[in-house]
């Protein structure tokens, strides 16, 4: 998996490319926790446009990130989830727990 970062005042966008599975979710988790807990970034956006697949370990990393962001009073925002990834969010009953938007524009103006 590849993760590129775009940052601006008070926000960061993480563009993720690849599958978020047991092999790669630790990398995403580490980056996510660094932004939320260590740097205290107020808004962290995860761009899922190029994520084909996410497994339960990836979901666990997102939940951990969400809990950390709530503790810090910051926001974790997901957008551009494909059908496969959104199905996993629904199966986990997390689609209404996370802030999820269809496009980057919608996410940034939220």
């Amino acid at each position: 998996v590849q993760i590129a970062a775009r940052s601006s005042d008070g926000l960061i966008i993480l563009d993720i490319t690849g599958d978020i599975d047991l092999a790669h979710s630790p990398q995403m988790r580490k980056l996510l926790m660094s932004e939320i807990k260590e740097k205290g970034t107020p808004k962290v956006f995860l761009n899922f446009t190029h994520v084909r697949y996410i497994d339960s370990s990836g979901i666990a990393s997102l939940v951990e990130g969400l809990k950390a962001s709530r503790d810090k009073g910051s926001r974790l925002i997901l957008y551009a989830l494909n059908k496969n990834v959104y199905e996993v969010m629904q199966l986990s009953r997390l689609q209404k727990i996370f802030e999820i938007y269809e496009t980057e524009e919608q996410a940034l103006t939220s």
């Binding site: 599958d19 092999a23 979901i59 666990a60 990393s61 939940v63 969400l66 809990k67 496969n84």
Partner: protein, 195 residues
């Protein structure tokens, strides 16, 4: 996080053996260049072997297995939604073996066997049986129970994904080996007309 024997991983190679079906059955070679199992076609009653993969407990094997499972499910005529569910279930099962049964230790054996099975009733058409076998730790009873989804916490979703996706999920342990059997049937009658 590196397991205690992670250093051995570099010496381990993923070995994937693919059972090729004959063209008359509508099956193509699933992974060109992979080694075929050198034994006659296995037919046990109503089962027909489609694919057997012999893997090592390395997370990099997951994407290989997902790709193979997607092809197998498509070839057996499952819908796109059913195929995604099967891929998800097998991926979670394999990840559980790597992470829990083998505690993250690399290079240990896992076999994944896919067979075509008959449905046996009017509502169920042909199905896909996937059996995962490993020599790792036995699963704890609590690990086989799943968890309450209302609880917001990381972890514990893999079993839920498997049960949601498959018609049968059976775990057995015999002779120091774990055996997880996953079965999904093609449903012949649309769900909305089943009352």
């Amino acid at each position: 996080v590196a397991g205690p024997c992670r250093k051995h991983r570099t010496d381990e190679r993923l070995r994937m053996s693919v059972k090729r079906k004959e063209a008359r059955n509508g099956f193509a070679e699933i992974a060109p260049g992979t080694r075929s199992v050198q034994r006659p076609e296995q037919e046990q009653g109503e089962q027909k072997l489609v694919l057997r993969m012999e893997l090592r407990s390395d997370p990099s094997a997951l994407s290989v297995v997902r790709g193979a499972m997607e092809r197998v499910a498509e070839l057996l005529g499952f819908t796109a939604e059913e195929t995604r569910a099967i891929v998800r279930a097998v991926d979670e099962a394999l990840a559980n073996v790597i992470e829990h049964a083998y505690e993250g230790q690399g290079g240990l054996p896992i076999a994944v066997t896919c067979s075509r099975v008959r449905g046996g009733d009017a509502k169920r058409g042909e199905g896909l049986e996937v059996v995962l076998e490993d020599e790792g730790n036995a699963a704890e009873a609590s690990e086989l129970k799943g968890r309450d989804l209302e609880e917001l916490r990381p972890g514990g979703l893999g079993l839920h994904f498997m049960r949601s996706a498959m018609d049968q999920v059976e775990f057995t342990r015999n002779g120091g080996k774990n055996r997880l059997r996953l079965v999904k049937y093609r449903h012949l009658i649309p769900a909305h007309s089943c009352k």
